[in-house]
Symmetry: C2
């Protein structure tokens, strides 16, 4: 390790990476390798002697890249996006170079302080209530993923209620969410020891556009209370994973407050859109929430991972997650004049993740970020119109953000209700390597998800994607 050796090799790597981006569209978006492909190509053990960077780069080109699913391809529409950007990438470089471990303020004051400041900035862009800002009892923190965000607030809520009701009442604690809620809610419950049978994933169907209905929640709570159970946590989603459904925050928030429950709002994907005034109304009612999360690493040009979480009462988090070993004691922490983010998260160690978010906000600015979001939503609208213009297809749920849920209509008088048809269509387009979509099932229907959100996606890509879908549909329908 030597500064000049680092300089020389890192310049080589920059060119390798820029060349990768230039050639991105030449690769199949979804990797076409078979399970176990890499084992055949690599030796069984690490080398005794050093190999050259050139050898490693050659292997990356020949052996690794074929196994990569190219999330940065403009033809990537699967799941939700994972944005890379010049600013985000530069932030990652810098963070890897400093390579600090920011568990406590003292271990790297700039890392903690920049994180506090930048999450205040982002909270203001989202027009979150002041109680989520660091100036009061709350504040923001960067978690790795939305899974960790929901886990830490569930733990805070669990321990808060158990302090009142006694720890043996764990078996009575009940969590509420819709059946459209991300699976990380279920996983958080598994980890926190919430009884599986006490997780109420309430049915949300087409009648509410797959949003959780306040009536369903109220009924479930009443029923649970009558059985002596303890409702303590409600999770609402702004932009569900399947169909970008939006749960009604105001009504749900009121129910939570009335029952003294923790109310978490998961806006992992669609939170980004709420920096635009015309989409911010989806957050109406967030003032009732105890915690709110959005993933800057999805659709906000900030490289993975960077999941922003805000809480109104940071002491609840800290009570659940703090430890105070002697080897970490220091004056600043003892005097309680600083934030120690180790007590807001599961791990002890943490990267300097605020750098990349800060660089994204500064190098792009609010107006460009709004433009970025609006452009993707416009592209999704165009795709939706294309689907609507072809009578063989249907849009399955109304589009709200940049996700279009659609399917090929079942053939009349055919035994397949459309499930196999769309499964096959998905398989065909993804196997072409030209585009990559993923799927969901809504009310028993196998549905294709077209999520616009890769930074390089332009109108031409949308049109080309639609042609691939139309062509494959023609082939599949002809074969029936």
């Amino acid at each position: 390790m030597d500064a000049e050796q680092l300089r020389e090799n890192a310049h080589k790597m920059v060119d390798f990476i820029a060349d990768y981006y230039k050639s991105l569209e030449s690769y199949p978006v979804l990797s076409q390798v078979q399970p176990g492909y890499l084992r055949e190509l690599l030796p069984d053990s690490a080398p005794d002697r050093p190999e050259s960077l050139q050898d490693v780069l050659d292997d990356i080109r020949q052996k690794i890249i074929p196994g990569i699913t190219h999330w940065q391809s403009p033809n990537y529409y699967a799941y939700y996006p994972s944005n890379s950007s010049t600013a985000g990438f530069l932030g990652e470089m810098l963070s890897a170079a400093f390579n600090i471990v920011g568990f406590s303020w003292v271990s790297c004051p700039a890392a903690t302080e920049l994180e506090v400041i930048v999450l205040d900035w982002l909270a203001k862009m989202l027009k979150l209530p002041d109680q989520f800002l660091s100036s009061g009892q709350g504040g923001g923190v960067i978690q790795g993923t939305a899974s960790e965000s929901v886990l830490v607030v569930l733990l805070a809520a669990r321990d808060k209620i158990l302090r009142k009701s006694g720890k043996r009442s764990l078996e009575k604690l009940v969590v509420y969410a819709s059946d459209q809620t991300h699976s990380c809610m279920q996983k958080a419950c598994q980890i926190a020891g919430i009884y599986t049978e006490n997780l109420r994933l309430l049915k949300a169907d087409q009648n509410s556009n797959y949003a959780l209905t306040p009536d369903a929640v109220s009924e479930a709570i009443s029923s649970d209370l009558s059985e002596g159970l303890i409702p303590f946590f409600l999770c609402a989603t702004i932009g569900t994973t399947s169909s970008a459904a939006v749960d009604p925050l105001s009504a749900l928030g009121k129910i939570s407050k009335a029952n003294d429950m923790w109310f978490h709002v998961d806006a992992a994907y669609a939170g980004s859109a709420c920096i635009c005034p015309e989409y911010n109304h989806h957050l109406d009612g967030v003032e009732e929430a105890d915690s709110f999360g959005m993933n800057a690493h999805k659709w906000f040009l900030t490289n993975f991972d960077c999941s922003a979480l805000w809480v109104k009462d940071r002491s609840a988090l800290i009570q659940s997650l703090s430890t105070n070993p002697e080897f970490l004691r220091n004056k600043a922490s003892q005097e309680h004049t600083v934030v120690d983010f180790k007590d807001w998260q599961v791990p002890l160690g943490r990267r300097f993740r605020s750098l990349k978010l800060w660089m994204v906000l500064r190098l792009y600015g609010l107006e460009n970020l709004q433009h970025y979001i609006r452009n993707h939503i416009k592209l999704a609208e165009e795709f939706e119109q294309l689907v609507n213009s072809d009578s063989r297809f249907e849009v399955v749920t109304p589009r709200t953000f940049s996700l279009v849920c659609f399917r090929l209509l079942p053939q009349p008088d055919h035994q397949d209700d459309g499930y196999k048809l769309n499964y096959d269509l998905l398989d065909a387009v993804n196997s072409s390597g030209k585009i990559f979509l993923s799927h969901t099932v809504l009310s028993g229907k196998f549905v294709l998800r077209f999520a616009v959100g890769a930074p390089l996606t332009e109108e031409t890509h949308i049109k080309a994607a639609w042609e691939v879908l139309q062509d494959q549909a023609t082939i599949i329908l002809a074969e029936i």
Copy 2:
């Protein structure tokens, strides 16, 4: 976002970073800023319009770097190291550029397969038993930190025993470790809902060089069994955080097996040394373990974060941590022909972290890595000799790896037993900005920890550090 814009700006960032490394020794190692310093220097909200990279880089130089504690400085001896290296840094760059999210095999086959292969390589370098390799029922996985490693195996163990004893027996589950075990064990128990009073942090003192004694564990287990409790988890450490103590694996492993408990070995720091044949004997008995962890991001030239965890029975992890939502279903996963690492960890999303570890292993090779470890241990030996050569000081525990625990001896007939003296010495040397050490308390003694492990540290730095310590000691002793 455009490949040529990325290229141009990333080249600038490479030079900024190489220049940072060149000037590293000119900064105070421990940041000397006061709490809240950055709030004064930055605006209250994000800009509406884009700013230039030059402005951002200027701010990093003027506002961020003063708030950084320089973990990469050759004069950094605090906590345990967090290594950056050319290979690790290049791996981070590449991983940020691909910016994939490798939750399932299909979401990026190369990420999953390279991780499986590289952890097999590393397991072989550590001479772990074959049951930890991916070819059997076990395998390795990269977690973010040792905290997450111990949490996931605790959850696997918890759920395994609860499947037998019934989930209402949670309150009877008991965990054993020494009082020298890292605080992440306590935190994992808090998260998993293990009752606080059922965490046995058994006293380890100078008689065993702060290692956990098998007798203490056996006695505690007998006593708990007689009270109807259920011993289920034992954690041993190779290289504790305070003093790099080594717990006796063979004896502890036998006790675990005899009592049908999960046995975890945490070698977060000292695991790296075990790639050298002369240190590998510290792992004798690891064949009794159910899980084993070491942090490649500490003392192994792999940038943070990269915590390697191996288990013998991956199905136990998967049973605790899997979810199977429709939107992630895919052929490869359904056919069980692949590994889906989402089910081995807390978060869903995951970075392509195996790239950097693979590059470290290839660009340095086993022999250089062994040399790297041996050199640091030699430097620690030299420091130990320097301490021994000054009768005002004492080495507090025998040195095993690259950590020296020492203190200034208390003055005869002085009311201070050495606690304040050493606290003041630590404060003085860290305030000088010339070196950064941290501390611990062993048997009531305030002890300074000198952990050699920064990649740039050479013999001259060790000698200079010792001079700083001697000079400050002289000043402090004169003031008494």
